[in-house]
């Protein structure tokens, strides 16, 4: 009971003090405000990015690996080192498909960008992918209507195509595209299917594409000097490592690499992107923690400073309170509560600012930023603890004042 009464008195005194010196209090909280705003904003950004990233990355299956010339994640000079690697070929893809025990589908792919036309209408910069019937399995490319091309279509290099949702919509609108002849980069193709809507992948519109048999691609657009990529789908995500091992072995065998020679191809998988992403957000975390720690330290010292001023200014008040029966601990708590309240004020301002920034970022950029309340609450406790830490010296100075001298203080 007694404790509640003088805690309440402490809060009342601190509130009076904060109100009497508004400007000073706000300036004192500045360090805390900056620290809290920074940390909460960065955490909000990271959380937002995490959400966006895991949504984006989910379109790359965790049960899929890619055999390519270049690895997805390269250091600065790696490209120069890797560009002399031999291109991956359709023949290699076929050999992998024939030999792999773990692959349930192997789709070689090659791509370019061309204009697609139907009568007067055209769509520019359509991604043209040349591939095989296995693409249906590796990329979940189930047509919304019509069909995907068969192995027979591929083997006979038939000039057929499956259109992305947006291309079909722009060229045909409400009318039926199936069976129509369109031109892709000046060559005629017959539409046999339309894919369902896919959305975008890292800002890339996946509905502006046309898929054609790889042989037709080569004869129409040439592909001898370019590397294909081989998409390999597995029965389950658990087989990723095993498959990486198997595919590496197969590729080395196909390319007759003697032991000791480096791989001259790359096996890519989703987790590589995830690792890179985690490194990036790890850096963000470090920045958040660094800026947060420094500004909280500065803020804490500011609070200690202002409390020392406050103790001096209120020496006489402390004397009066002691004469009337305040014990050391009562005075100690009075100033600790003031320190904690300054901190809490800083946290509240910081949270409000962070919410504002997060809203602004979410409204003006594609990066979604979501305030996580556990961070805010954790921040409140943490910063109040900082108030305690930096408040203890001025507060104990006040508590130790001799009442006679304090009463005499002018």
């Amino acid at each position: 009971m007694r404790i509640l009464i003088y805690m309440w008195e402490g809060i009342r005194i601190a509130y009076d003090a904060l109100r009497s010196y508004k400007m000073r209090s706000i300036l004192t909280t500045l360090g805390i405000v900056i620290g809290v705003t920074t940390v909460i904003t960065i955490v909000a950004l990271i959380q937002g990015l995490n959400g966006a990233f895991s949504k984006e990355i989910s379109s790359i299956g965790t049960d899929t690996v890619y055999i390519q010339k270049f690895p997805w994640v390269m250091k600065e000079d790696d490209w120069l080192k890797y560009r002399n690697r031999p291109n991956l070929t359709l023949e290699e893809s076929d050999q992998i498909r024939a030999a792999s025990r773990l692959a349930i589908a192997v789709a070689p792919q090659i791509g370019t960008a061309r204009t697609v036309k139907f009568e007067e209408k055209s769509v520019e910069q359509v991604i043209i992918t040349g591939t095989t019937a296995d693409y249906l399995l590796t990329s979940n490319a189930n047509p919304e209507y019509g069909r995907f091309f068969s192995e027979n279509d591929v083997n006979t290099n038939r000039r057929v195509c499956v259109l992305g949702y947006e291309v079909a919509d722009k060229l045909f609108g409400q009318s039926d595209p199936l069976g129509r002849r369109i031109t892709i980069g000046g060559r005629k193709f017959r539409v046999i299917g339309v894919l369902d809507k896919k959305g975008s992948f890292f800002g890339w519109n996946m509905d502006v594409l046309a898929i054609i048999p790889i042989g037709a691609f080569r004869s129409a657009f040439g592909a001898q000097r370019r590397s294909i990529e081989i998409e390999v789908k597995l029965a389950s995500p658990d087989q990723i490592e095993e498959a990486e091992y198997e595919l590496t072995g197969l590729m080395r065998h196909i390319r007759k690499l003697t032991p000791g020679k480096e791989n001259n191809f790359a096996i890519n998988k989703q987790s590589m992107l995830l690792d890179t992403y985690n490194q990036l957000t790890g850096t963000l975390w470090a920045v958040a923690i660094g800026v947060g720690a420094i500004s909280l330290l500065v803020g804490g010292i500011g609070i200690m400073n202002i409390l020392l001023v406050s103790v001096t200014e209120r020496t006489r008040e402390i004397g009066i309170r002691k004469a009337l029966g305040a014990r050391k601990s009562d005075i100690l708590w009075q100033f600790l509560i003031e320190a904690m309240m300054i901190c809490a004020l800083g946290v509240l301002i910081g949270i409000l600012l962070a919410v504002g920034i997060a809203k602004l970022v979410a409204a003006t950029t594609p990066v979604p930023a979501a305030i996580t309340w556990w961070v805010a609450i954790l921040g409140l406790f943490f910063v109040v603890a900082i108030g305690l830490f930096f408040g203890i010296y001025p507060a104990s100075k006040a508590a130790r004042l001799n009442p006679i001298e304090a009463l005499r203080y002018e």
């Binding site: 007694r2 009337l324 029966g325 305040a326 009442p403």
Partner: protein
């Protein structure tokens, strides 16, 4: 016996020099006495008053206040004794500037844990007693000197202490207001309170029943007034 001072000594150490302020004070005070302590500056009257008020402890001797041996208490015990047994009235009023009269009077009860409703009621009663019922929500800077001193008296009374200890209570007031304050003290004495007054004004001291004159840290004279 309310106060019993036995051979009270106080020595201040200023650097390496030892300055004796009190050199063996014997003093007994009964309940409901009205005492004035007088003496020129440097006589030790402030020191004596601080010791009686439990703001300071003696270097030697024994001080019994209401059967408590105060001379051996630590800071927190002294704080509790001050809160319970002593009501201070100071020359410069010593009110909290940012708090209302009511809150100033509530202060001693905050430190003994009185619940807020009771605290408020008792503070209001104390302010009514000193004639400030209509000024409860004013801050000290909105009150005259006399009114401030009345708030301080209400604050000194509110815990029903054993002693009211007033240090030059009229020193900062004009003589007419001073007289009003002295009337309040007289009224309090008649109601059974024990009052110890420190003053250097003869005519103020004459309000009391007993004048104790100090000189060089010793009691020079202890006389009754009629």
């Amino acid at each position: 016996m309310l106060i019993k001072l036995e051979k009270i000594e106080k020595v201040y150490e200023i650097g390496a020099v030892q300055v004796p302020a009190l050199r063996g004070i014997h003093l007994n005070v009964d309940k409901n006495e009205y005492i004035a302590i007088m003496g020129p500056s440097g006589s030790g009257k402030s020191t004596l008053m601080n010791i009686i008020g439990c703001l300071d402890t003696p270097s030697g001797g024994e001080y019994l206040l209401n059967q408590h041996n105060v001379s051996t208490m630590d800071d927190d015990q002294l704080a509790e004794i001050r809160n319970r047994e002593i009501g201070f009235v100071f020359q410069t009023f010593n009110l909290l500037p940012r708090a209302t009269a009511l809150h100033n009077v509530e202060l001693p009860m905050i430190y003994n844990g009185t619940a807020s409703a009771l605290r408020r009621q008792m503070a209001e009663e104390a302010l009514e007693k000193v004639g400030l019922a209509d000024r409860m929500h004013h801050k000290p800077n909105e009150l005259s000197g006399g009114q401030r001193q009345r708030v301080a008296i209400a604050r000194a009374l509110v815990n029903r202490p054993s002693i009211i200890l007033a240090d030059e209570p009229t020193g900062n007031l004009d003589s007419r207001t001073g007289d009003e304050i002295m009337e309040i003290f007289e009224g309090l004495h008649e109601q059974g309170n024990t009052i110890i007054l420190v003053t250097h004004e003869e005519y103020i001291a004459e309000h009391s029943n007993r004048i104790i004159r100090l000189r060089d840290g010793l009691i020079e004279r202890d006389e009754s007034v009629h």
